[in-house]
């Protein structure tokens, strides 16, 4: 398992955790825009998803084509146990580092 997670990777993994079995390009993009207020290009999102898949943190499968997609299939993503563990480890590290710092940080 290579290294720690980048910020974008964390966000995407969190989006997948939220979306469950409905995670695909458009829904991940919307989730990131709505909650993290990050407008990301689909190219960036797919790059991140591809990298996570290469790290064997997530897996993908192709769904059915729909008319409003011009007859193209969706590529669904889901968290793998390894992805789950990596996400938890990453979040715990941030929580431990941030513990008690909120008042201080918000003041300055």
């Amino acid at each position: 398992m290579s290294g720690t997670l980048g910020e974008l990777e964390q966000l995407v993994l969190l989006a997948l955790a939220r979306l469950g079995e409905h995670a695909y390009g458009v829904s991940v993009r919307e989730e990131l825009a709505r909650r993290a207020r990050r407008e990301l290009s689909l190219g960036t999102i797919y790059t991140t998803l591809g990298r996570l898949e290469a790290k064997r943190l997530i897996a993908s499968h192709l769904g059915d084509p729909t008319p409003e997609r011009g007859g193209r299939r969706k590529k669904f993503y889901r968290l793998l146990p390894a992805g789950h563990r990596a996400l938890l480890a990453s979040l715990h590290a941030i929580e431990r580092m941030a513990a008690g710092l909120h008042p201080l940080l918000e003041r300055s």
Binding site: G25, V26, R29, T44, T47, G50, G70, R73, K75
Partner: protein, 884 residues
């Protein structure tokens, strides 16, 4: 509506071309979905469009290909390996589809190589390798007397009896003699081959009768009841598989025998494959049972854990004792004990081994050729590999791909090769003239297929290695930069080496075939000593009590001649006790009156013929001195003899043979006065050296030998003559079996069948080798010319003559061929002794053959060079310069 959408999709696909297929489709779908959402939410067409294209361009710019999937953890390995293999296979198949000519050529070449090797193995396997189908077959041996020169000799009964008694090495032993009997009864009288054996014969072989019982020792003494054991085939054919066969009486050559057993259907007597029944020998210490009457074969089953050589040592000791006790009776040096298997294959082994080596060469040439094709193809795909390398394929991956291709090619070739082998085996077994032992066991079975698979895999790896190694070794980026010019010396040297090897191997095969061809032509031009055309031969026997007397047989013999000569189309006819080239021989020790020898075993031996007066004129045997027999040489008159030229010149050198007297057989036998000398007749075969021959008048011989061979000189074609002949003889005596009918030309062809067969096989393989070698030269030159098109074009633009370019390319090819011829010539000289035994009056290093074959090969090579050379000479300079 559809047109702008089609254009949009097309452009999107172009812009996203860099993405892997799955991601491209999903992303394209996502963009379309977002576009729909915006339109549905009321955005204006233009806004939607701008946002859509913004998304496409953004995605295209932002997208980064994910890193390659890292090394796999253990449990996931297996499916990934299969997947990789599958990919390799798909790529290989696609490659083959794109190069159909290469694929067909390579697969056919391999099919020829693998097919001929497999076919040959299917012959070798049962004939030389698989044990005989007897229990403990490795312990069944033949025992022979060993002559001073190391050759084998059959054995006398007394010697057999003394050698086997109390022997510790032999668990069982038997003597056997060939018998020929005429079976009378329902239907045609039939001549059968039988074996006369001592009681333990079937115990030696380890197979007993399926019905009834084996012989007992009491049935193997003179005067005992006559009993017979039948083969399964004879029982079925002549007795309709009668279940009550045991105890029935069968009349063999007018003597009744009681049937006591039937052998199993699976039983084959490899000592005499034609034997259909077995009777006991019934010898004891008298008559034919002497020590010098060496007419029996001796087989034995060794005791457990006794090696043939150990048995031979024991028997040699006993033999020395016998020599000491009976010094007059033995001229042999000792004994020979050989496993039955090698005894049976002895004669044919040399031919089979030579052919096998030849086939091995064909396979090697085929592999070299395919390797060459692969190298040429690898060259054309250099850029392809380089690009793959640039895209991240490792050297291992490229090598694996090449190996997969090679194996796939080998498997295709192997599958076709099995077809070739199947046809080859059918062809090989049809030519049963070769008198191969166990030919009936030759077929395409599991072990043969396994062999084919092994050969295929080994070949696949062998010719996959070189290109894969080259691809792995060369820096791929380097290759990409070179772009076909220079820097490929390694590959050139390898390909040139392969061509040299191919030519060399082909030369060795051609030399072998050439030597055999020369032997055969020498052999066919040999004087046989008589006129072979328009001569019909057959064997006729006089059967039954009425022909027990010499006079009765004599009378019948005369009447047959009169009746046959009365037929239209018959010029003349005569009797002989044995037909030249008929496969039998009858040899006697000859005592010469003017120079008698003390010890009878030192007397010269001669082929003995009993003939009727017309024999020499019917056969066309020239009388050199004296006279031929006449009807006046009758029983009761002066006993006369005629000897052949070889006998006269070797034993009466300078002196007149005519008038001298000879004695055949023992000291009590009569003397014969020589009245004539005739030409030598080839009796055993065309390659046999001339041996002494003695002719005696049939009517003056003192024992009843019951007719024999009949030769009929015809004025016209033998076809259609047999029916009237048969009718004429049967009219005189209906019970007379007429067998072995053949024209003399057929007998002659039969005596050279083995040579012609070996030559034919070798010729076929040599032809294949020549073709493959020519293809190899062509391939290398064509490639080299293609690579150097630019160079050649520039040279001709600078004024080089067409002839010079033509000559240069031709020279390049001929240099390779010449080197191959020289190296192959050396190998041919070294391997020459392999075929020495198959040659007749031709030395393995025969210069005429070597030079002739070399010229054929060089001419073929020149032919193969011609097309590429012409192409090189006709390269138009303008075209090349335009390219520059």
């Amino acid at each position: 509506m559809s047109r702008p959408e089609g254009l949009r999709d097309w452009l999107t696909t172009r812009l996203l071309a860099r993405l892997p297929l799955e991601d491209r489709e999903a992303l394209h779908g996502d963009l379309t979905e977002l576009h729909h959402q915006r339109t549905a939410a009321g955005s204006s067409a233009w806004t939607s469009r701008i946002e859509y294209w913004g998304g496409v361009v953004g995605a295209a710019m932002r997208y980064r290909r994910p890193p390659p999937i890292p090394a796999l953890s253990q449990p996931a390995r297996r499916p990934r390996l299969m997947e990789r293999l599958w990919t390799d296979l798909r790529v290989a198949l696609r490659g083959f589809r794109r190069a159909p000519l290469f694929t067909a050529l390579a697969a056919c070449t391999l099919a020829l190589g693998i097919g001929s090797t497999t076919a040959m193995f299917s012959v070798l396997n049962p004939v030389l390798l698989t044990p005989l189908p007897y229990p403990g077959a490795d312990r069944v041996v033949g025992v022979w007397e060993r002559e001073e020169d190391g050759s084998r000799s059959t054995i006398g009964y007394a010697t057999y009896r003394d050698l086997r008694s109390d022997s510790r090495s032999l668990a069982a032993a038997a003597a056997l003699g060939l018998g020929e009997v005429v079976l009378l009864g329902d239907g045609e009288p039939e001549r059968l081959t039988s074996l006369r054996v001592t009681a333990e014969y079937f115990q030696v072989l380890g197979v007993g009768p399926a019905i009834g019982r084996d012989f007992t020792p009491e049935e193997d003494i003179p005067g005992s009841a006559r009993v017979a054991i039948l083969s399964h085939g004879l029982w079925q054919r002549r007795f309709g598989g009668d279940p009550a066969i045991l105890g029935r009486t069968v009349v063999l050559s007018a003597i009744p025998f009681t049937i006591i057993g039937v052998m199993p259907a699976s039983f084959r007597d490899y000592l005499e494959p034609n034997a259909q029944l077995w009777t006991t020998l019934r010898y004891a210490d008298q008559g034919w049972a002497c020590r010098t009457c060496r007419h029996l074969r001796f087989v034995a089953r060794l005791a457990p854990d006794v090696a043939p050589l150990a048995a031979q040592r024991e028997l040699d000791l006993r033999f020395e004792q016998l020599q000491a006790s009976y010094p007059d009776d033995y001229a042999s040096a000792g004994t020979i004990v050989v496993p039955l298997q090698s005894q049976l294959t002895g004669d044919i082994r040399a031919a089979l081994l030579a052919i096998t080596v030849g086939v091995g060469f064909v396979l090697l040439i085929a592999v070299a050729n395919v390797m060459n094709l692969q190298l040429g193809r690898a060259l054309r795909r250099r850029r392809d590999f380089a690009i793959r390398g640039a895209l991240g394929a490792s050297r291992g991956q490229v090598m694996r791909q090449l190996l997969t291709e090679s194996l796939l090619l080998a498997l295709t070739g192997g599958a076709l090769g099995v077809l070739v082998a199947w046809g080859g085996i059918r062809l090989l077994t049809r030519l049963d003239r070769l008198s191969l032992p166990r030919l009936e066991a030759v077929h395409l079975d599991g072990s043969v297929l396994l062999f084919a698979v092994l050969v295929t895999l080994v070949t696949g790896v062998a010719f996959g290695m070189a290109p894969a190694w080259l691809a792995g070794r060369k820096d791929l980026h380097q290759l990409l930069k070179q772009d076909g010019r220079g820097g490929t010396a390694d590959r050139h040297r390898l390909r040139a080496g392969l061509v040299v090897a191919e030519v060399g191997l082909a030369l060795v095969l051609l030399v072998g075939a050439g030597l055999m061809f020369r032997s055969l032509t020498r052999l066919l031009s040999v004087e046989v000593g008589f006129q072979t055309d328009h001569l019909l031969t057959m064997e006729v026997r006089a059967i039954g009590e009425q022909y027990d007397s010499l006079a009765a047989v004599s009378l019948l013999a005369d009447r047959v001649i009169t009746a046959v000569e009365a037929l239209p189309g018959v010029e003349g006819t005569a009797w002989t006790s044995m037909l030249p080239l008929g496969g039998d021989f009858n040899r006697y020790g000859v005592q010469i009156a003017s120079r008698p020898v003390e010890n009878r075993s030192d007397a010269p031996s001669a082929d003995r013929y009993l003939v009727s007066p017309g024999y020499f004129s019917v056969m066309g045997i020239a009388v050199r001195q004296g006279r031929a027999f006449t009807p006046q040489d009758r029983a009761g008159g002066d006993r006369v003899a005629i000897v052949n030229h070889a006998f006269a010149s070797s034993h009466w050198a300078g002196r007149e043979a005519i008038g001298d007297r000879v004695q055949l057989g023992g000291a009590d036998d009569p003397w014969w006065t020589i009245v004539g000398v005739v030409d030598d007749v080839k009796h055993i075969g065309l390659d046999a050296p001339p041996v002494p021959q003695v002719y005696l008048p049939q009517s003056q011989w003192m024992y009843n030998e019951g007719l024999g061979g009949l030769v009929v000189r015809l004025t016209g074609d033998p076809a259609g003559m047999m029916a009237p002949l048969r009718q004429a003889i049967r009219a005189l005596e209906p019970n007379t079996p007429i067998t072995r009918v053949a024209t003399m030309e057929q007998l002659l062809a039969g005596s050279t069948a083995e040579r012609r067969y070996t030559l034919w096989l070798f010729g076929v393989f040599a032809g294949i080798a020549l073709l493959l070698a020519a293809a190899g030269i062509y391939g290398v030159l064509a490639n080299s010319v293609q690579e150097r098109t630019r160079e050649i074009g520039i040279r001709s633009a600078l004024g080089a003559a067409r002839g010079a370019i033509l000559g240069q390319v031709l020279g390049q090819g001929l240099r390779l061929a010449g080197l191959g011829v020289v190296l192959g010539g050396v190998v041919a000289l070294v391997l020459g002794r392999l075929v020495d035994g198959l040659l007749y009056e031709v030395e393995p290093g025969d210069p005429l053959t070597l030079v002739g074959v070399a010229m054929v090969l060089m001419a073929t090579a020149a032919g193969a060079c011609w097309a590429p050379a012409r192409r090189a000479a006709s390269v138009p300079p303008s075209e090349v310069l335009r390219e520059e």
